[in-house]
Subunit: 571 residues, 2 copies
């Protein structure tokens, strides 16, 4: 497609074919698209040394109908039993469902499916109607030694949903997506785990209409996957929202939980704090389906008062200054911004280019003031809460940013960021269509280790020719933050890509970052778990696993690094 | 002793005799005293229906020298081995040490020791010099099946230190009380577990002098036992300080920990957050010595800026209004006060009497304004942090309190409270000398359950004739708070007292309170653990216990309710 005389790729605007591979790996709404704009297109060509010719022929688009060779390996008698347990209409045996509910959103899975290559699938897909259905299924599967996998919204980027050992996958979002209780007095909500982010937030925003509440509420948890992830998924993978610096990670938000495990069912108490020994409620968070099935959870909610929001953005002369200011803010004892994000020089350069700032009059002004390309770093933020509190946070942030050489940029960049906060993942399919891979990895760091991890990982990523590596920190604590790496490159094939990807994880871990700040472990980080945690701590997880699931039916085959093949373990 | 013509008891002003029972059960500094003042003395007589005659003859004062019948039941060869392991000078075999380090600060222990009755004692008391000593002792004891108990500051009020099965007690505060690292950049401190509260806080206050830090810091954790408790003790029993509403409970403050367990040693990572599965760091908090020995911990610290403190106090017409205002404050999204305490009507009446307010011109004014005795409730608070933040918290608190009918009382009551914050426990021995028992129990509640628990427990306590029952809430969260019951009564003997005490715990639990908000479980709450947690959750604790300590040498005999005698379990 030509426009303004310049070539511009023919990005896909058609929803994927029904029941196709593409309909599985495509992000989000089948009719939803966000194409790289002309500026990004130019940047990609420049940085990856591509020409228009590289964007003239799409690779395999994965629009063929899903077909798999693996037949259902469960006897008809067993299939009938599952139909009795959860209702015949809630048991899928078709190829498409088996592949769809075995797949998350990793680049690896997308690359495979594009080529019609299917990884392990479950034999049956079940859609439990309620806690009792889950109970019956877990009991039966434990008795019969049938593996159980759990699927929420399908946004896992860690191969967390891959049913390595077959068996059944429970889809929680089909029926188990209800609000069970709303307590305005305790400021909590109790939900089934399969409720999707937008439905959950909508229920809270509409609390006066739905629950006769005096006020409107918000969940405070807005990961990039918000629109296509479930509350249960957030909890069992330890997610963090884009406003976690103020509201907390999901770990902080969960008051109590109810689980069905092979070793029995239990519901933890909803006390705001207790001193009754090690907290079972917290042990279950992050268990990624390896201990049991989450069937309900009670979470903290917050007053919804967007009228008090304060936006702000600053440009810093360099990364060190942006980090130093962020640390000062995080340790300043005046409360935290909710949105709080600093971009390193490469991410800032890309952002300024995409926003049309590079080369503009603003850019000239910035350069004159000493904010130079390849050095300058963008900071965006928002404070929330009670009106004076939010204003005081902004006032302190402004003072600190100025002290560290930051220049105020108004609140515009925050609104700009907000506009795309959930839609950027849509660009992946466009890039992949032309053989360009975009992927992310993320880690947690302390203030002491942030520069070592950032520099070390960047050096590795950039050692690959023609590779973009953008980094930001976006979840802040008094003791440190996270680093989120976005890299764009071309790879010949999956094997080469896997090697590169594994190399990044390896460098993150060796430089002193955590294996994950908020994406979880799944099967992607699993090979590094033993090295990262040490055997003494892995043995604690194994002891818990053995207690809850002595027959290893819950998410078996590598989840959390618990039952790895010896040859996969990273030394 | 007479003064102003009126009789006033001859309170003890002598430090306990050396090596006496009294020197063990007396609170705090041997030379420290805080006697009930004349107003409290009058109140006790009135409420407990006593006369001056009841205060003329002291009960047994426990000043005899400690002597015990139980000889050391370890062979000389084993004793020699321990001397080799930790140094001969760090092994105590004498009666006094064995009793002292077997004893906490429960009323039960004080009553027994007064009469020269000694409970279970360890055979040896060891004072490990460092982590390596602990490692050697744990290895040897595991091999030889010798029970290990751990003693920090000795302030347990749950029989947590009682060496039910003999063996050895490790005293952590003798040598293992060092600061191992201070990181101003991460805003953390790493300490050995035996460091006492004041030494810990002093190191942080003096960070510029000691660690060349740019600023002074505070630990933010100030339990009533602060002067006589250790950082390790806070962690393994899940303590909360009197400023926890702002700084967090100790659970929130611990970044990482290092443990020596029979199953191996490990140190958790100090990332500010991770998504690498269930958090081993959190599993260990509250383990009360039943899993292993804490040998070092890294904790968050905070900027020390007392110049920004804002004090405030209010009188409310009643408890319901005080609770409603407290909830509104806790959910108000403007940050929390640090000191935050509401007293129920009986506690308020006692406080006003002790402060000399009752009957004064202020009292008349209060009554005129509708704040009546037996109804009115005192609220005291302090906000901290950055100057404008602290001021904004006070401004919002004031607005809310007025809205709920509260009257501003200046900051004076807070300073008055602060003056006695660590010294009130000294009064216990005075009262006990005359057969009057003062004791406390505490629980966590949600906003939905607070009134049911408060009313139910009070009704039970007050059903005992001549009993004072004062209640306050002093640790606040958006989802609830705690209730702290102080009761004063006379009891014929230990058996009668135990029955009364158990009745209170039973009512707390049945009404829906937690077994403990911040005192821990120990052996006092242990009989209720199975009922309170349910078997499925207790089995998780048992699985962890069995993993860490398969030979049950760590704090065996009832700790956390893990290995209870069947007849002790509360149904």
């Amino acid at each position: 497609m030509k426009q303004d005389g310049a070539f511009y790729p023919d990005w896909t605007n058609e929803p994927p074919k029904e029941k196709s591979y593409r309909s599985i790996f495509k992000w989000g709404d089948p009719h939803g698209f966000k194409h790289p704009n002309r500026k990004l297109y130019a940047l990609l060509k420049e940085k990856l040394h591509l020409t228009d010719d590289d964007f003239k022929h799409k690779r395999q688009t994965g629009n063929a109908e899903v077909r798999i060779a693996q037949s259902v390996r469960l006897s008809n008698a067993r299939i009938d039993t599952f139909r009795d347990l959860v209702g015949a209409e809630n048991v899928d045996t078709d190829d498409y469902s088996r592949v769809r509910f075995a797949t998350g959103k990793t680049t690896e899975e997308a690359m495979m499916l594009r080529e019609g290559v299917v990884g392990p699938v479950a034999d049956l897909v079940l859609h439990p109607r309620d806690k009792e259905d889950v109970l019956k299924v877990v009991e039966y599967c434990d008795q019969q030694r049938i593996p159980i996998y759990v699927y929420g919204g399908g946004s896992s980027v860690t191969l967390g949903l891959r049913p390595t050992k077959g068996g059944v996958t429970l889809v929680m979002s089909t029926h188990m997506n209800r609000v069970l209780n709303f307590s305005e007095i305790n400021q909590t909500i109790t939900v089934e785990p399969g409720i999707m982010g937008p439905d959950y937030e909508r229920a809270l925003n509409r609390a006066p209409e739905l629950y006769k509440a005096e006020r409107r509420y918000t969940c405070g948890h807005f990961p990039q996957s918000f629109e296509y992830s479930t509350v249960g998924g957030w909890i069992v993978t330890l997610g963090s929202g884009q406003e976690s610096s103020y509201y907390g990670d999901v770990y902080d938000l969960v008051v109590s939980q109810e689980y069905v495990t092979p070793a029995g069912c239990f519901k933890t108490a909803d006390f705001p704090a207790t001193a009754t020994g090690p907290k079972i409620n917290d042990i279950m968070k992050g268990s990624e389906g390896a201990f049991g099935v989450l069937v309900s959870a009670t979470l903290k909610v917050f007053r919804y008062c967007p009228q008090n929001d304060q936006n702000f953005a600053f440009m810093f002369p360099g990364w060190e200054a942006a980090v130093a200011a962020s640390r000062e803010i995080s340790q300043g004892e005046f409360g935290m911004p909710s949105v709080f994000r600093i971009s390193d020089a490469e991410e800032t350069d890309v952002a300024l280019r995409l926003y049309g700032i590079e080369g503009s009059i603003i850019d000239k002004f910035l350069r004159l003031r000493g904010f130079r390309p390849s050095e300058r770093c963008l900071f965006i933020g928002r404070s929330q809460g009670e009106r004076s509190f939010a204003k005081n946070v902004k006032r302190n942030v402004t003072k600190i940013c100025r002290r560290f050489g930051g220049m105020y940029l108004t609140g515009y960049p925050v609104r700009r960021w907000e506009h795309g906060r959930y839609t950027d993942p849509y660009m992946r399919e466009d890039l992949n269509d032309y053989g360009i891979l975009i992927d992310t990895l993320e880690t947690a760091v302390t203030w002491e280790t942030i520069h070592k991890v950032h520099q070390g990982v960047r050096a590795f990523v950039k050692s690959r020719p023609d590779t973009i590596c953008m980094t930001h920190a976006s979840h802040f604590y008094p003791q440190g933050t996270n680093l989120y790496f976005i890299f764009i490159t071309r790879a010949q094939d999956l094997k080469e890509y896997r090697k590169f990807h594994a190399g990044i994880i390896d460098h993150i871990e060796r430089r002193g970052g955590s294996l994950s700040h908020h994406h979880g472990v799944g099967r992607l980080m699993a090979p590094w778990m033993e090295r990262h945690m040490g055997s003494a701590q892995m043995n604690v997880l194994r002891a818990l696993k053995n207690h809850f699931d002595p027959n290893n039916i819950m998410n078996p085959g590598g989840a959390l690094g618990l039952d790895m093949d010896a040859q996969s373990v990273q030394k």
